[in-house]
């Protein structure tokens, strides 16, 4: 695992609660807002299961800690999107909170319903980008959520030991977190 320079992280009084919201004018229309919200709730819950940080949807976009939106091409942050495939999304280090997805991709929440061969799993990308929002940079471990690439029509949503160790070093462990031996074997195979 790796961190951004200076190991930035969100600083809040415990219990830490971060809010998120979707940009009202920058959403996709072929996936229902309910399905989008569900995918993000699952992605956030994976991180909150291992660290003492909770996430909840904000009442208003402007006041949210994490601002999520779909954008095309040059959208003003110096990191232009490039059309179908290539770059899928990006997010900024703590405590910036910006989380941008490429509107040119075909985002999917269910591959049985979405037949496009270039469909990208929204929950997988959301889980990865939340890692950046929280302070993790890219990992060299292929199985880790924080590995930088993801093939189309691939679902990769479970945190691996590399992700868990990295994020817990920043925020501590969720007291309810239980060690999963399966993560250890994943780490071993990653090293191999």
């Amino acid at each position: 695992f790796a961190y951004f320079y200076g190991e930035p992280r969100w600083v809040r009084s415990p219990p830490m609660l971060l809010t998120y919201a979707f940009s009202p004018g920058n959403v996709i229309d072929y996936v229902s807002l309910e399905d989008v919200t569900t995918a993000f709730q699952r992605a956030f819950s994976r991180w909150s299961a291992v660290i003492p940080v909770n996430f909840t949807e904000a009442e208003g976009y402007s006041s949210a800690d994490i601002k999520i939106g779909w954008y095309s091409g040059d959208h003003g942050d110096g990191e232009a999107f490039d059309g179908v495939l290539g770059v899928l999304a990006h997010a900024f280090s703590p405590e910036n909170g910006r989380f941008h997805l490429d509107a040119a991709e075909r985002w999917a929440v269910d591959f049985t319903a979405e037949k496009s061969k270039v469909a990208v799993d929204l929950e997988s990308v959301a889980t990865h980008e939340i890692g950046h929002v929280l302070g993790l940079a890219h990992s060299t471990v292929k199985e880790a959520i924080m590995y930088p690439s993801l093939s189309p029509r691939t679902k990769k949503v479970d945190l691996r030991r590399d992700d868990v160790v990295g994020i817990q070093a920043l925020y501590g462990s969720n007291p309810n977190y239980r060690y999963n031996a399966r993560l250890e074997s994943d780490m071993s195979s990653g090293r191999g």
């Binding site: 790796a2 951004f4 942050d77 899928l88 990006h90 061969k117 690439s149 093939s151 189309p152 691939t154």
Partner: protein, 119 residues
């Protein structure tokens, strides 16, 4: 073994101007080679933090030079690939795969942070 795997073929299918055949011209290129289009690959490496902007002319050339080889080895190490220093099949397959836009060394060109601390 040179035939692309399914994920690479998928990308080729939707990027007709960037076919696997066209990418094959880079396959196994090594230091000292000059390959048309290498500058584009250098821009890719620049975007993700492995190369800095060239001082002369502010543009990349098509030569596989020492700097590109070092960048390639760093890329291979960071992406869990064999450090061959060549544009082998596994490396090209990863290069054409979709990915996150955050630099692997944030700050080398991006504005996310200055650099990473790796553990």
């Amino acid at each position: 073994s040179d035939y692309p795997d399914s994920s690479t073929q998928l990308i080729v299918d939707v990027l007709p101007n960037n076919t696997w055949h066209s990418l094959m011209r880079f396959l196994d290129a090594g230091k000292g080679n000059r390959v048309d289009g290498m500058a584009e690959l250098k821009r890719y490496f620049r975007r993700f933090g492995y190369l800095s902007v060239p001082l002369e002319n502010n543009s990349f050339n098509d030569f596989f030079d020492d700097e590109f080889e070092a960048a390639l080895r760093s890329y291979q190490k960071n992406l869990g690939l064999s450090e061959t220093g060549k544009l082998d099949h596994d490396t090209m397959t990863v290069i054409v795969s979709p990915r996150c836009g955050v630099s692997d060394f944030p700050g080398a060109g991006g504005n996310h942070a200055l650099k990473t601390t790796r553990h």
